[in-house]
Structures are given as structure tokens and as C-alpha cells.
């Protein structure tokens, strides 16, 4: 019997036994639903991480010279951590040699930041991310202002008490008033708000608009970095992607000579890029995908056992039909194929419903929670392939039993 007709026959059988077929494919359906949902959320998160989140934290074609990575989740051992602690900090005097190594069109800015409490005379205090940097920072981050302006070179040079605030800070302190020219107190010094930055959005429920930026040499520096002469990072934006690697290599060389590292000695600083910040996520992703595959696998094994059981029952129930088919000339392989196609069709159908449910579940989770979701094509293909294999594996034993039935005995059964 051609495959197409066998599938039609299987669909017909499935249709006439809707409820039973539904329960049969439930296991595979649930397994695939969770496979798709978990994989979609993990994929969505990683897409988000790569395209949005890291782009917001670290701008494109940008690297930061730091003494240790900013993003360390999960996989930092005690020992690495102690090594990080022992590393010398980046100092103000390191900036000049770094800048000397940069190509002329490169942009750079020293930067220190910390969480500090901001307040106004009337408003409730609010914890904000305070940045000390130069006006080039805005250029590197491609961060514009919605009202007001960024620092002037003079303000930069003098360390004036001016500040550009993020949208959340504006909403908190100056909800219905124009903040420009108003006073914001940082570390008991009054800063004049000169601009409100464009909203930077949020990721995973975390807002990127809770910041204030003051000129690098403003007194805020004593709060963002208490040790004298120490800075958190030197931000560098390469003029193009093409020379990014070369620029980084030059800066690395300069830093090594500043630090007087012998050849073979490990760097005691880091050039952090968006991809290096992502490496932590790649590791988490591995575990998440593993969980997303292993847990549904349990469901699929249960699903396979259910299908095998139901197919054994079907063979028993349809013994006479098998006898009739054999009497009319069905060979072993015809009967085998009939039951295999039936179990596989059931299973693929279950997987297909699971794909739809899983995608819907992922989208629902994405809609009601900050988790993003993206249905990956490979997971759909995987799900259908898994569905087919479950059906074939679960169907082999019942189908082979059916094919080996003695027609005389089968015809006599009730």
C-alpha cells in the first residue's frame, strides 16, 4: 500500500476514535508543548540578550578596559574571584597611554559609576546609577536627550555641578514639571539638571532609565569611586567593526606594558565587549536548553509507552480485521506498515498539536511576563522528528505482533 494511502487510512482510523486518539497522543503532545515552550523562551532570551540587552549595556563596536568583568553570573569560582580582587584597578594615569594607542577617529571616555541615593528638597530619596564621565560618553552610547542638552566641553573641563538624568529619575522627581534648571542633590551637593536622556527601555523587568550622568571631574566622583585616582573603566568606541580587533590588540599591548607584565603572564585586566559579556549567558543557555530537552524527554518516553500500549490494545481489538486483511492478500509487511503508519501518524499529530500549544504557551508567557519568546525553526523540526521517532519506536512491537498473527486464528477471534 502506498504511504499516502496508508496515512489516509490511519487518519480515518484516528478520526473514528477521536477520544481514544486524543488520550493516546496526549503524552507526546505535552512533551512537545514543553519542549517548544522552554526552547522558545530560552531562544527568545538569548536573542534578546544578543540584540538588545547587551547592546544597551555595551554599545556596538565598543569595548571597556576594566580590571575585571562586570557580568559574572554563576560560573565564577572562589579562586577566580579572589584573583579579581587582587588585580590592580584602572588608574587615571592609564588613560593617556591607552588613548595614545587608539586610531585618531576612535572615541573614548573614562567612566566611574555606583549606586547612590539622589534626592531633592521636597522629593523622596531614590537610588540611582550615578555615572561620572565625559560628554563623549553620550556619543559612544548614541544616547540623545529629549529635552535640554548634554554637558558642554567647558562643563566637562571644570567639573561643573550639572547632570543629565534618565527618564525614570525625571518621572520620580519631576513628574509634572520641566526638570531643566531644577536642582537634584547627589551626595549633599546640588546639581542642576541640564537634560533628560532618551528612554533606554528595559530588559527582563530591569529598567535602564534609572541613571544620572555628571561630568567626569565633578565632585560626584568621590562617591562613584572612593579611592583617589581610580576609575572603573575606559570606554573605547572603535571607528569601525573592521579595526575593532586591531584596536583591542593595541590597547591590550599598552596595558600590558603599563602593568609591566612579562610575556606568558596572564592579563590582570580585561577588555570587555558585548560578546564577552554574552559568554556567561551562553553558559546558562546550555543548561536551560538541556533542561528544556531533558524534561520533555521524560514526557515523550511516557508518551511512547502510552502509544505502545494503545497500539497493543488496537491490535487485540482489530485481530479479526487483521485476519480479514490477511485473507484478502495483505502480506506481513502490509500489516506492519499499517500499524506503524498509524502509530507514527498519531505521534506526529500529537507533536504538531504540541508545537502549536507550545508556541502559544511561549507567547502567553512572553505577554504576561518580562521573558521574551521566539519560536525557533530548529525546535519545530526537532519536535516533529521526535514525534515521528516516538511513533515508530512505540509502534514497532505492536505492529510486528500484528503482522505475525496466524490468519486462521485471527479470523476466528471475536
Amino acid at each position: 500500500m502506498p504511504l499516502f494511502e496508508a496515512v489516509l487510512l490511519a487518519l480515518q482510523t484516528i478520526r473514528t476514535q477521536k477520544l481514544k486518539s486524543f488520550f493516546t497522543m496526549l503524552g507526546v503532545c505535552i512533551g512537545v508543548t514543553f519542549l517548544i515552550a522552554v526552547v522558545s523562551i530560552v531562544e527568545g532570551m538569548s536573542k534578546y540578550m544578543e540584540e538588545d540587552l547587551v547592546g544597551k549595556i555595551l554599545a556596538v563596536n565598543t569595548f571597556e578596559v576594566r580590571h575585571r568583568p562586570t557580568v559574572n553570573i554563576g560560573n565564577t569560582s572562589e579562586e577566580t574571584w579572589r584573583e579579581y580582587q587582587r588585580r590592580p584597578r584602572i588608574m587615571e594615569q592609564d588613560v593617556a597611554p591607552i588613548v595614545a594607542a587608539l586610531p585618531p577617529e576612535a572615541l573614548w571616555a573614562p567612566m566611574s559609576s555606583d549606586n547612590i541615593s539622589a534626592t531633592t528638597l521636597t522629593g523622596r530619596p531614590k537610588a540611582v546609577n550615578a555615572y561620572n564621565t565625559t560628554r563623549t560618553y553620550f556619543e559612544i552610547k548614541k544616547m540623545g536627550v529629549v529635552t535640554g542638552r548634554v554637558f558642554s566641553p567647558q562643563e566637562d573641563a571644570m567639573g561643573s555641578l550639572v547632570v543629565v538624568i534618565g527618564k525614570d529619575v525625571k518621572d520620580h522627581f519631576f513628574e509634572n514639571v520641566d526638570p531643566i534648571g531644577k536642582e537634584l542633590r547627589l551626595g549633599n551637593l546640588p546639581y542642576i539638571v541640564i537634560g533628560v536622556a532618551e528612554s533606554q527601555g528595559s530588559a527582563l523587568g530591569m529598567s535602564f532609565d534609572k541613571f544620572v550622568v555628571a561630568p567626569y571631574s565633578s565632585p560626584l566622583r568621590r562617591l562613584t569611586n572612593r579611592q583617589k585616582g581610580v576609575i572603573d573603566a575606559v570606554m573605547v568606541k572603535s571607528p569601525s567593526e573592521a579595526i575593532m580587533t586591531a584596536t583591542m590588540a593595541d590597547v591590550q599591548e599598552v596595558m600590558r606594558s603599563v602593568r609591566k607584565l612579562r610575556p606568558g603572564e596572564k592579563d590582570n585586566f580585561i577588555l570587555e565587549t558585548s560578546s564577552s559579556a554574552l559568554s556567561f549567558f551562553a553558559k546558562i543557555k546550555q543548561y536551560l536548553v538541556l533542561a528544556g530537552v531533558v524534561l520533555p524527554a521524560i514526557g515523550l518516553i511516557v508518551g511512547a509507552i502510552v502509544i505502545m500500549n494503545i497500539m497493543l490494545v488496537a491490535v487485540a481489538e482489530r485481530t479479526r480485521e487483521i485476519g480479514v486483511r490477511k485473507s484478502l492478500g495483505a502480506r506481513r509487511r502490509d500489516i506492519m506498515a499499517q500499524f506503524l503508519v498509524e502509530s507514527t501518524t498519531l505521534s506526529i499529530l500529537g507533536a504538531a498539536i504540541g508545537v502549536a500549544l507550545g508556541a502559544a504557551l511561549a507567547k502567553t508567557i512572553a505577554a504576561v511576563s518580562p521573558l521574551p519568546a521566539s519560536v525557533a525553526l530548529w525546535s519545530v523540526i526537532l519536535a516533529v522528528a521526535v514525534g515521528a521517532s516516538v511513533g515508530i519506536i512505540a509502534g514497532v512491537y505492536p505492529a510486528s505482533r500484528a503482522s505475525r498473527l496466524d490468519p486462521v486464528v485471527a479470523l476466528r477471534s471475536e
Binding site: 500500500m1 480515518q12 490477511k326 485473507s327 484478502l328 492478500g329 502480506r331 490468519p407 486462521v408
Partner: protein, 267 residues
């Protein structure tokens, strides 16, 4: 030692023609069924049951034969063997020039598909399939294309006057109509023999007559029909009656005898 390939010889006795052939030799083309000393025994509850103890039966093409016998006489076993659903424990079975007694499962399936049309007491139609789909089944296993199948199945249903019931399912048909669908299914692949097992066993007497008229018509068109029954009035429709008793042929009212010379026994 006599040659196993000796041709059939023909002698006329007072009442009957006697056809002789050697064991192991293919019978003449005109003989659609030749069994030579077939036995069938099986184990049941630790006891060996000898259902057939050596049956020599020969059926010419176009014959209409009834096989009778009380229950336990071995007629069902004989029918299963003739229908290639089972193989004999010993002896030869030649069907349409092929020795089928030594064939594999799958080869037997193909022989059933091409040579045998079954009609069962309980009709054995697939309940979820329409009359047309039921009749198509043997053609499906013969590997015939869908459109050709539909055409031939429709023709077969027309032959049993069920053209307008093609899309009905078995539960929408009367007993007589179901059996006619089964007959159409048996005929659709143009088998050498139509093998009916108590075809009227589940029908009332009026419907039985109707079905017997169908068989009558087919037999007169030249279809070989073998019918197993225990009802004498049904058997009376056949042109030849073979009676089995205790696993051997007790009587056969055929006008001729097909005799097999066995090696070592001489002529």
C-alpha cells in the same frame, strides 16, 4: 522407481472416468485444485488432533462443489488449507498449477490475493469502510492504482446488483446486501476459485435463496465455486457434493476419479 513426471493417464470405467497422475507432478492446467494425501494435525491441550488424515481432492475449473460434513469432520480445516490460510502437515496441494503447500507466509498472501476469493459466514466486512472501500481492499494489496481500483470495485458491485449502495457502510446494509458486498469483494480480483464458508449461515431462508441465486449465476458464468456448508438444501445447489467424515473423504458424487500414484506403491 516410477518417474515422478509421468503424464496423466486416462481410463474409462463403467461409471467413472479415472485420471491418474504421479505424486510430485504438476497436474494438468484444467485442474484448479489438486490435493494429494494432505494431512493436518495440531496440538490442543497437549493432545494431538488429527483434523485431516489424508485427503485427495481434485477440482476442475468451472466446477461448483459443496463440501459437507458434520462438525469435527475437518471441513473447516480443509477449507483453510484450500484457501491458503494454512499449510498442510504433509501431502501436496496444487492450486492453479502452483504447489502452495511449501510456500512462505508472504507468498501465500499473494496467492490468496490473486487466486482466492473468500466469502465468510459472518461477512467480515470492515465496519468503518464503505461498501466500495471494502470491495477495493484486495486490489489495494494487489498494488493497483486508486482510480483503476474504484472502477473495478464499482463493476464488481454492479455484478451483485449493489451499484447504488456503494457509499453505504456495512451497518447501513441488510444481511443479504452485506453478503453480496462480500461476494463482490471476493470476485473483484478475478480469483481462480470463490471459496465460501457457510455463506448463508447468518441469513434467513429467503435471503439465503437470494444469495444462492448469486452463486448459481456466477457458477453458470464459469466461476469455480467451492462452498463449505452443513446444510443439505444449500449443498443441493452445487453440482458436486463432497462429504467429509473423520478427516477423510467419505463420499464424492463426481463423475470422475483423480488418482495419484505414490512412489513405492506402484500402479
Amino acid at each position: 522407481m516410477s518417474s515422478p513426471l509421468a503424464p496423466e493417464s486416462l481410463t474409462e470405467t463403467a461409471e467413472r472416468r479415472v485420471v491418474s497422475a504421479a505424486e510430485g507432478a504438476a497436474p494438468d492446467k484444467d485442474w484448479v485444485i489438486v490435493t494429494r494425501g494432505i494431512t493436518r494435525q495440531y496440538e490442543m491441550g497437549g493432545e494431538i488432533v488429527r483434523a485431516l488424515r489424508g485427503v485427495d481432492l481434485a477440482v476442475r475449473r468451472n466446477e461448483y462443489v459443496a463440501i459437507m460434513g458434520p462438525s469435527g469432520s475437518g471441513k473447516s480445516t480443509l477449507m483453510n488449507l484450500i484457501g491458503c490460510l494454512d499449510t498442510p502437515s504433509s501431502g501436496e496441494y496444487w492450486l492453479n498449477g502452483q504447489q502452495v503447500s511449501t510456500m512462505s507466509d508472504d507468498a501465500l498472501a499473494q496467492v490468496r490475493n490473486k487466486e482466492i476469493g473468500f466469502v465468510f459466514q459472518t461477512f467480515n466486512l470492515l465496519p468503518r469502510a464503505t461498501a466500495l472501500q471494502n470491495v477495493e481492499l484486495p486490489l489495494v494489496y494487489a498494488g493497483i492504482s486508486s482510480s483503476e481500483r474504484k472502477k473495478r470495485a464499482a463493476n464488481a458491485l454492479e455484478r451483485v446488483q449493489l451499484a447504488e449502495r456503494m457509499s453505504h457502510k456495512p451497518n447501513e446494509l441488510s444481511g443479504g446486501q452485506r453478503q453480496r458486498v462480500a461476494i463482490a469483494r471476493a470476485l473483484v480480483n478475478e480469483p481462480s476459485i470463490l471459496l465460501a464458508d457457510e455463506p448463508t449461515g447468518n441469513l434467513d431462508s429467503q435471503t439465503s435463496e437470494e444469495i444462492m441465486r448469486v452463486f448459481e449465476g456466477l457458477a453458470s458464468q464459469g466461476q469455480t465455486v467451492i462452498m463449505v456448508t452443513h446444510e443439505p438444501d444449500i449443498a443441493a445447489h452445487a453440482r458436486r457434493v463432497v462429504v467429509l467424515r473423520d478427516g477423510v473423504i467419505a463420499s464424492d458424487d463426481s463423475g470422475e476419479v483423480y488418482r495419484t500414484s505414490r512412489m513405492g506403491q506402484g500402479h
